[in-house]
């Protein structure tokens, strides 16, 4: 059970949160211009990395805010947490 440092509320138990999959996949601005393949790439394809992964999380049973998390999926170490719209940490 993770201890997640919500950027708005502080440290809270994992059970207050909902995982939202891979981060930084932007919804295409002009979906109608895309081919089936390009749209499918956005819609279905996810990396599911073993190792350091950028993810979206939602403080569903708290402030309801979405934020980003950098997590090593192999040992569940949370390396960074940052707000939506903020630049992902490089290291």
């Amino acid at each position: 059970m993770f201890l997640i440092n919500c950027p708005y509320c502080g440290e809270r138990d994992q059970q207050e949160f909902k995982a939202g999959g891979e981060a930084h996949i932007e919804r295409p601005k002009q979906p109608t211009e895309l081919s089936d393949d390009e749209w499918a790439e956005y819609l279905f394809m996810r990396k599911n990395i073993k190792g350091v992964q950028f993810e979206r999380w939602n403080h569903a049973h708290g402030c309801r805010k979405w934020f980003n998390m950098v997590r090593d999926t192999s040992n569940d170490e949370i390396k960074a947490i940052y707000k939506m719209g903020e630049k992902p940490p490089t290291q």
Partner: protein
């Protein structure tokens, strides 16, 4: 007449407090402070159970939670009975009853013992190999296998006890109150860390508290004396909480630990009532100090499982701590010095020690010399090759061990004995450490796995970190504490430690016998009867992974999780396969460390607290009027209102007719309601619904369909424009929370530029839905001032009004196809509103109806229910709802997906109506639909999603999804059922009032 083996008194046993208890129906006596195991041993009872597979007689082996054999049923036949309890952990109290498990008719004479004689026919993998053929026989085999599987009996009546959960937060959690744990907790607390010390036993001090090696000294005192003083001082330390009888079951990531606190298990029945029996502590610790100690290993030799064969350390604890001699003719068998401490402990108490068998060539430590001086015979370089005694050990045979330790030589010597203490060295208890995700390494010299890579803020101290000597423990503990807690000094800085032990140890995982291995029974896992022979067989059959060998042989898979034998299993595998221990890794230790009761796991979430439920403000009225309820998500919704013993069908037929003929009323409070405000609210709705919203006038309502990005229908509902920048959206009852979550997601992450605010107001409003041709007259009676003419208040519009002084929002919208109104008031006025409607509707025979009638009425109109007629694979086009999908809008959620090649296929499953050729046959929801009956295999075209007998149409109607159904209007299809084929015809899904004339009736 049983022997009394109580020896010189112990300060931990209160001999003035005599306790009587029953074991297998016979009454015995013990003293306050005894465990069931120590009390039985004092009465010379060793045989306490039968093993799982061979039903071999088994005795008490250990003195702690690692016990594999002495597994008993506590208080059998009562509502407090508990199976698989370790006798070594049960504190006795007056009236305690316990019985042996896995034996019939009794532990003394067990029919299953035949398995022992047949054991050559039960090798590893016996079940997998034997019950494969013929495959069709499995059902027959299963009956017998199930019958003989399992240990103990579960209670048959409900548990009378109370269980509890508690969240605990601390700076430092110390697990285990041996010498290391106590000193760690003391120093942490003294340095202002909020500290919690937990100990599974009822006494603090671990094994040091009865340490008797006269050559070990701390500050010139016996370690036990020194530690007692330290424990005494704990009482006065602030910041320190101590919990005994508390066992940590699980150590999860981020220092989240679960511990079970036992509060009443040691009390007499009369003192258990109305108290919390066990409490689950959910601990979040900033730092964790593991001081879980070490478990003594047995030695693996032929017939090493007989009652009377115990761990050497257990023999010592029973004598020193409980004042019990485990036998009158004791022998020890060892590969290191610790058995000499046990032997001397017995000798000093006047208990007879016959001999020591040591597989080493020699040892020079002082304690060994002392044993020799005591005149106890030591057989160096000898091993036990066999033991004799079915229900109790009566002799052992020993032979000289060869230099390489793989065979025996010379002649056999037989030694008569009734108790054998076995000492195979110590294994650090690293179970919790590895549960946390941390990694071990194998220490070649000590032949143990020790902590290596910590993954969280944790340290392991004392013998669980591989330090077995007191001087090592104190020295390492001191610098580990300073590092972990970032403190400069501790009270360990100036401690003077003298020790004797020599660390020599000769490790042989499997000891040889004069017989070939095939003819021996060297048990590795006592509880599951896995022998070294089984492990070797698994390797011969090609198993290599330790995890596979474990499952194939069942080694380590009992309720004790193989705490004693796992290391030997690994060692035997390594030796046989010719690899190093470190390369093999170890099996995964999984929580719980010791078994948890279901009560502890569920805590207070039983009975009516089992799950959360939500009730509407009108709930009391529904209850008073005898409604039946159905669960919709967490809501309890009125399902139907039977009168005069009506069946559900009868009630629903009556309610449905009444709603169309005169007036009906439905509690619609559970529908999700989201208040949407902001200057971009219209634009936002444009993006989340498939239809256009910008031109919706203030005061008007519109039905909307919401898709997922994959184009599949997700939710639906009516949204009303309350003001220029203010809407109220309704969602399905079950979808409310998810819809809000999804909308928030898009607002926060994709469209943060939109000025929109979402608030859930589901619980803030109560909604009564008034429907039927007389609904207008009823509403007129309640609000005489409101102009209800079609010109002023047409279908799909909204009015704000007042009922008396109560503000209300009224939408003229309809889910039944009838003229109807949804009246919303503040939740607290909900019941009042409902009663007013009922009162005003009396003259029109207003009929309350529940969800079932609602479903029927909407099915007559062909209105879909999300989740019933859709299943996450239906697009609006599949639902034949093309009319609601805007062609003009540039984008909305899911739009692009409606033009994917797959979603544009003509042969997708599409929603259609179905009419049975016989109007009295009602189809089963979920029934499959086919077009050919004589095909093999028959092609399934789809299934029935909704089906009812319509009292208004006087025939059966159904909705279904059928492949290519859109173009099948009028086509004959079949619904094959168990004993008949039902002929159906594809029809328009709108069965009733196709022209919507009744909306304005």
């Amino acid at each position: 007449m049983t022997k009394n083996l109580r020896v010189k008194s112990s300060e931990y046993i209160d001999e003035t407090n005599r306790i009587s208890f029953k074991f297998n129906g016979k009454t015995y006596h013990g003293f306050k402070g005894d465990t069931l195991a120590s009390a039985l041993l004092a009465n010379d009872v060793h045989l306490v159970g039968r093993s799982f597979k061979y039903h071999r007689p088994r005795g008490i082996m250990t003195s702690g939670s690692e016990e594999p054999n002495a597994i008993v049923q506590i208080n059998p036949g009562t509502n407090r009975t508990e199976p698989n309890v370790r006798a070594t952990e049960v504190e006795i109290y007056d009236g305690l009853e316990a019985s042996s498990q896995n034996c019939w008719p009794s532990v003394e004479f067990d029919i299953g013992g035949i398995n022992n004689i047949l054991s050559p026919f039960f090798p590893a993998g016996f079940y997998y190999k034997t019950f494969m053929w013929p495959a069709s026989f499995w059902k027959k085999y299963e009956f017998f296998i199930r019958h003989s599987a399992g240990l103990g009996k579960s209670p048959t009546s409900s548990d009378p006890d109370i269980y509890d959960h508690r969240n605990v937060h601390c700076d430092v959690l110390v697990v285990g109150a041996g010498i290391s744990g106590i000193m760690a907790a003391k120093n942490a607390a003294k340095n202002n860390f909020k500290t919690l010390l937990v100990e599974e036993k009822n006494e603090l001090g671990g094994s040091t508290i009865y340490e008797n090696n006269e050559f070990n000294k701390i500050d010139n005192k016996a370690p036990s004396e020194w530690l007692k003083k330290e424990i005494e001082e704990l009482k006065n330390i602030k910041n320190l909480e101590i919990k005994t009888r508390t066992s940590v079951a699980a150590y999860h990531q981020y220092n989240y630990l679960l511990a079970r606190e036992n509060l009443t298990d040691h009390l007499e029945a009369k003192d258990k009532t109305n108290k919390i029996r066990q409490r689950l502590l959910k601990i979040r610790a900033k730092k964790v100090i593991l001081a879980t100690g070490a478990l003594e290993r047995p030695l693996i030799f032929n017939n090493n499982d007989r009652p009377g064969i115990m761990l050497s350390s257990a023999v010592k604890k029973y004598s020193e701590f409980y004042g019990v001699a485990c036998g009158s003719k004791n022998v020890f068998f060892t590969n290191n010095d610790s058995a000499y401490e046990s032997a001397l402990s017995l000798y000093n108490k006047g208990i007879n020690v016959e001999a020591l068998i040591d597989i080493r060539e020699q040892s020079e430590s002082k304690i060994v010399k002392k044993v020799k001086e005591a005149g106890i015979k030591v057989y160096w370089s000898h091993t036990i090759v066999d033991t004799v005694g079915y229900k109790r050990l009566n002799s052992i045979s020993i032979m000289k061990l060869s230099n390489d330790g793989t065979s025996v030589t010379g002649s056999k010597i037989s030694i008569s004995c009734d108790c054998l203490g076995v000492a195979g060295g110590w294994t650090p208890a690293v179970h919790l450490y590895t549960q946390s995700g941390s990694k071990l390494k194998f220490d070649e010299e000590k032949k143990v796995f020790v902590p290596n890579q910590n993954t969280s803020e944790q340290i392991s101290v004392g013998s669980c970190d591989g330090d077995f000597k007191i001087d090592e423990i104190i020295k390492n503990l001191n610098h580990k504490l300073k590092d972990a807690l970032n403190i400069k000094e501790t009270n360990l800085d100036n401690i003077k430690v003298e020790i004797d032990q020599e660390n020599s140890k000769r490790n042989i995982w499997l000891l040889p016998s004069d017989k070939p291995i095939g003819k021996t029974k060297p048990f590795v896992d006592y509880q599951n009867d896995a022998t070294a022979k089984d492990i070797k067989l698994a390797l011969r059959e090609g198993f290599r992974s330790i995890e596979h060998v474990k499952r194939y042989t069942t080694t380590g898979m009992g309720t004790d999780q193989g705490k004693l034998g796992n290391m030997h299993a690994l060692g035997i595998i390594a030796d046989t396969a010719g690899v190093k221990m470190g390369e093999l890794g170890t099996t995964t230790f999984r929580p719980p460390y010791t078994p948890l009761t279901f009560g502890t796991i569920v805590g207070r979430n039983v009975g009516k607290f089992f799950d959360i439920f939500r009730r509407t403000p009108m709930n009391d009225w529904h209850v008073e009027n005898k409604a039946e309820f159905e669960n919709v998500g967490q809501w309890k919704r009125a399902w139907y209102y039977p009168i005069n013993g009506e069946t559900m069908h009868e009630a629903v037929q009556r309610e449905s007719k009444a709603a169309r003929e005169s007036a009906g009323i439905l509690d619609a409070s559970t529908l999700g309601k989201i208040d949407i405000q902001g200057s971009d609210a219209s634009e936002f709705l444009n993006r989340v619904y498939t239809n256009a919203w910008s031109k919706l006038a203030i005061g008007k309502c519109r039905y909307g369909l919401m898709l997922n990005e994959d184009g599949m229908v997700y939710d639906d509902g009516v949204t009303t424009r309350l003001g220029e920048n203010h809407y109220i959206m309704t969602t399905t009852t079950g979808g409310a929370a998810n819809v809000l979550g999804k909308l928030e997601d898009y607002l926060q992450t994709e469209w943060p530029e939109l000025d929109v605010y979402l608030t859930s107001v589901t619980d803030h409003y109560a909604t009564a839905s008034l429907c039927g041709p007389n609904s207008k007259k009823i509403l007129k009676k309640i609000i005489p001032d409101l102009d209800l003419s079609d010109e002023n208040f047409p279908h799909m519009s909204f009015k704000e009004s007042k009922i008396g002084n109560v503000q209300c929002r009224i939408m003229r919208i309809s889910f039944t196809g009838e003229h109807s109104y949804e009246i919303n008031v503040q939740a607290s006025y909900g019941k009042d509103l409902w009663e007013k409607c009922i009162e005003a509707g009396k003259e029109f025979n207003i009929t309350p109806y529940g969800t079932e009638t609602m479903h029927l009425l909407r099915a007559e109109k062909g209105f879909i229910i999300i989740g019933q007629d859709t299943d996450g694979t239906m697009t609006p086009i599949d639902l034949q709802m093309d009319w609601i999908v805007s062609k003009k809008k540039y984008d909305f959620i899911g739009k692009r997906s409606l033009y994917r090649s797959d979603t544009m296929r003509e042969d997708r499953k599409q929603l259609v109506g179905l009419l049975t050729d016989d109007p009295n046959i009602v189809l089963e929801e979920g029934a499959q639909i086919v077009s050919e009956l004589n095909q093999s295999p028959v092609e399934m075209l789809g299934h029935v999603t909704s089906s009812y007998f319509s009292p208004n149409l006087k025939k059966s109607i159904a909705l279904a999804v059928v492949r290519g159904g859109k173009d099948m209007m009028g086509k004959k299809l079949f619904v094959p059922m168990e004993n008949k084929n039902i002929n159906v015809t594809v029809a328009n899904p709108v069965f009733y009032d196709e022209k919507n004339e009744r909306l304005n009736a």
